[in-house]
Subunit: 388 residues, 4 copies
């Protein structure tokens, strides 16, 4: 939730600057890398978030002249309503515009947005502005995940710098008990929220228990040690195929190094911190771990109902809920309507937030979503069980 | 639901014979075909359903000698708990054993099963027998779908013979109205049911309306005519990619032939019957159609709650529910536990039954499931909407 | 060379019958198999060789009515001049026409050809007839190679029956010495020959020596034993990539079985016969073996010049000559011109003949050709070296 | 041929500087691009040519300390004898070392080489030095071809600058007539030459005629205009498949733009110069053009024998000779032996040189070679015919 005490102007500047701060440690060479399909080059994020404001706000305001007409093609992510776009796998070939030109593009957009913000600003524009800022915050986290992938898959393991501190997940965890009944789910209020959090509606939950802490690296290492990746019984059929085809035997970034687990973190290659919550696991791995414990993942509803009773925000937590529309869901008109709705198939919901999530961006009703095999995000898991 | 007035013995014989009756029109050459990954050769179905009884019942009974030790490898479908198996894409290369040998295998298994059924039969065996019979009925429908695929993708369009008659879906359809509240979902009773129908549990539904009839071929043709396959706004992002990559412009088996739609049906290539329900569409197409009408698919829960108020059984109806476990779901111990649970990701639920479903096999709580892009099954759709 | 003492009529019958004799041991299920791209189903060979006579002779004779108009599409191999054809990888999906129909097709073509042969027969027809018979003989060898592939890649290893006996290659081999000078290469004469054997022309050869025997299984096993497949220095770069990607560690059909080499032969799975010539090796393997011995393959010219001084006909012998046109080469007009010329790139020449070659089919000027990685043919090698 | 009047020291400096001069117009972002498998990033060329001197000369001299031990892995191209190397498709992911570090690496190698050159220098070192310089000159041309590919496949078509001027190929061309007989082929002398130009040996040629000029853009445009890309009769079977699969309808970089042909040249996107020789065609296209004219390509021997009678050096000219060893060919010992020999399969010989070839690098006996489908090099063609 973006803080309301700020002026919109201040907020805009702060969010836009944060994106550039994230890129300070990068070298020119790093900005164009796309070592995997799901990763976008940092320069693409820088430009695409600016394109969003240009396309949806500036281009609709009188007298605005685009910075460069080609950019609509280059930096459209997935909006079919806007026109053609560069195919995702080719983003890494965008050596032009240069990094310098992209920063000039950002400055140009910022200047025109600031001018516009000083003038009268319609309610629709305001709504789009807040969407644009939340959109940019999402890309801030993607930027960090992508930089980690770029650095962490390079033999020289460059250090980027330290991320926020993770909580301790190693202490005794307690079961929170929730009683059977009808509960409210979804967002209702006056702050910003995504369309996929609506409508607020009733859900019936059976009695359940949910852990007040995340699964730690130490606990996950025990799962590996006990043959978790070799027992098909613990896995979805597609998960089993996935670990076999990709030779997956541990979370992403883990390496067995001289008799212990090390991992690449944004500040370098080092021994695993056993106390913190396991990170960079797929949905398949989260489920296999839960099965191994004789437990299960919570649904996104179980998570939301209990979330005010535990700390969250360290990891995006896989739930056992597929990403589907809430009752009464309506997508917005026009290209903005492509933001969420068209992805509501074959993805799983994650709840919470992570050490890489921008301050104030998440909330208890927030629904993140990814395909079940992806794990370059800062993902983890929390356990649940039926009430005995 | 298998009829209970029969003796188990009679039931066993009847189900086993039905499988072979389905194959009567086939030539030896047809039994080994696998023209697409999701299709299995008819001979494989014949053997695999026999293997199921051999593996899970006969092999555990005293003194049984397997028909051929290699068959466990050849005809295991997906049970990792049983050992190695032939990769699915290679099923079409199984020119040995011959068709004759496979019929001998069936006879051998039938004879030994009959002997066993005359002796004392444990409760566990009985439960496995009923699972085996329901399993074989599922394969009876798969056989018909696969034969249709094999014949319908061959330039000479051989005729197999006529399937059950479809109902008329062209008449005026009415909206059934269901009130908001808590409803019971899932199976409870003493007849056969799959583990995925359990536990029976409460679900809260918002008010909704559901059509008492299926979408007809005439209605679907109108969708095509109106550019439904060209408007990305109607489609999931993955659905849009899927129709573009596969050049999909109509349901499977439809061909534009001299100014009108024709289709391959099991009894030959002929003009579309506009009155009957549309068939062989993917989940993506079902959703795009609903979006085009400004409506939606029902969830599986909405379907189940209303199902006693409309006729069903003509098409497997796509719902907008992902295939996930019910609260309290427990998979069985051992290899049988692989039957359903390990597929509970990335698939969508279909409800109802079809013209190809074996008599007595389906029921209101039955949960069929397929990946959203598949459409060689006898799939269709029913519309729903929020209560105004 | 087809024997000239026969009447054309007798010859036609003999060749056509030989093709069917080859198929006697097959079961209906075997006729449709295509377990690898380079393999064609036996039923396809049976039909395609008949199609050749139908297309190039019968269809041009007055009053002939085709057996089935669809067959031109189904059984054209690679003649773009004739029209569309079924893509090679889909040949294995041709479960219709049935085997029975294909034999009827053969009988129909044979009957009409016999009638035609009794009438006056033009010189052009005669020339096409001889081409058709040689074409069918080529397919007789392909049939045997494909049957071996089909049976030899099936876990049950069915036995087909015994092939011609291979010579003993284990005895002391001698070096034949050829002096530097100008030699004649290519065919000149009145019997049948392919266009790629023309024009007869002069070639200058440096002094060289060539072995009078083929490399034996025992010798090749020694190469394996000495790490031949692990030393990149012995291999072409593309050969090295090929063995690594395909995990090649021995000739095709060889299996290390309980401390010794076994292989699948057409009469079953059995211990390697160490005395006979190595078989089913790629060009890459032939070259690597020669490099390991500090020797080399002969060129096709060196082979031809010396061929009257050694026995040949047991294996198709890889040469170090690329398949290229001879000086003055002219391809025939029309679709027949596609027989050879359009393949003259990226393939290597093989000389000699094999235990599977039809009697009288090969000759000293005969140029066989395959891509360097292929080895399902009956291939082997003979060594050469520069004169010291 | 490197000029002999220079001191080795001067020569070394000149060649090394030339490589860097080629890169002057590049921006940091351009150095890391690999838009196609056959293209290497400019920074890779800069480092790899330095690695060659480090690996084969400096590392064998007393007391040398490598610039960075990881570079052997990063910048080895294809020398299996040296150890592991980075897979070719991943060269584009080498964002580290940075461009700055790579220039530092070059300076480091240059400094140590200069010191070494001032000291006593063995004959073997001298021989490796000349190989290294010729190697670097080859990479200078590859650099230009790769830069052209990088810029010419980017929607913004950046301009790099002007290449050497091409000759006029539009004037009347004459047939040079060569008489049948024995000719000498290959290099003999004291200047630098590659191992693949040896041994000098005799070849017998039939009478032939060869054009004294290259095929021009105007002539090639006429071939396109006359349906050359639509007539399968003109093409190798593999060439036909290649143009169909890749939708090839003109030389690389040609675009049909407002009723005329334009192309990307290194100095920008502009109308085709009809007078100069056609460029960037595959072997398949060269052959199809010749077939269309009822003519053929010369063999590499025909080319070499006549080369002193025509101007050459504008285009690498495809010949109809496969890249094979000359009689008596011996590859060098050790890793240097991998330079040429292991590529002698599936490639075609090109003769001459191009506008991008470094001054003094080529000669009449020089054998360039590429796979027949590649065309990002500066390739063209010259016609030949049999003597009537």
């Amino acid at each position: 939730m973006l803080r309301t005490e700020q002026s919109t102007q201040q907020l805009f500047i702060e969010v836009r600057q944060r994106t550039q701060e994230i890129c300070v440690p990068l070298k020119v060479e790093d900005y164009g890398m796309q070592p995997s399909l799901e990763v976008s080059p940092p320069k693409w994020h820088l430009a695409h978030t600016s394109w969003f404001f240009e396309e949806f706000i500036l281009a609709r305001s009188a007298g605005y002249k685009r910075f460069d007409d080609d950019f609509a093609y280059l930096f459209n992510s997935y909006y079919d309503g806007i026109g053609d776009r560069i195919p995702r796998p080719d983003r890494g070939l965008m050596y032009r515009p240069t990094v310098e030109e992209i920063y000039a593009y950002r400055a140009y957009v910022d200047r025109h947005m600031s001018n516009l913000l000083e003038d009268e600003f319609t309610e629709e524009m305001k709504s789009l502005l807040h969407l644009g800022l939340n959109h940019e915050q999402q890309h801030q986290e993607l930027l960090l995940a992508d930089i980690k992938y770029i650095y962490g898959n390079q033999p020289l393991y460059p250090s980027y710098g330290k991320l926020n501190h993770s909580m301790d997940s190693s202490a005794n965890k307690n079961w929170l008990s929730i009683r059977e009944g009808v509960y409210d789910i979804g967002y209702e209020g006056n702050s910003f929220s995504y369309d996929n959090e609506h409508n607020k509606h009733k859900v019936y939950l059976q009695s359940y228990e949910i852990s007040d802490g995340l699964v730690s690296n130490a606990e996950y290492a025990e799962f590996i040690q006990n043959g978790g990746y070799e027992d098909f019984n613990l896995w979805h059929a597609e998960g089993w195929d996935w670990i076999k085809e990709n030779n997956v035997k541990s979370p992403m970034y883990w390496h067995w190094n001289d008799r212990s687990w090390w991992s690449y973190e944004l500040d370098g290659f080092k021994p695993i911190n056993l106390q913190t919550a396991v990170m960079h696991i797929s949905f398949y791995e989260a489920v296999a771990y839960a099965n191994w414990k004789g437990l299960r993942l919570p649904t996104e509803f179980e998570w939301e109902v209990a979330a005010d009773q535990f700390d969250w925000g360290d990891r995006w937590e896989w739930t056992n809920s597929a990403y589907l529309p809430y009752p009464g869901y309506r997508k917005s008109a026009g290209a903005i309507g492509e933001y969420n709705g068209k992805f509501m198939v074959n993805q799983m919901v994650l709840r919470g937030g992570s050490v890489a999530t921008s301050r104030g961006h998440s909330r208890m009703t927030y629904r993140n979503f990814f395909h079940p095999h992806l794990r370059w995000q800062f993902t983890g898991l929390r356990l649940a069980r039926d009430k005995k």
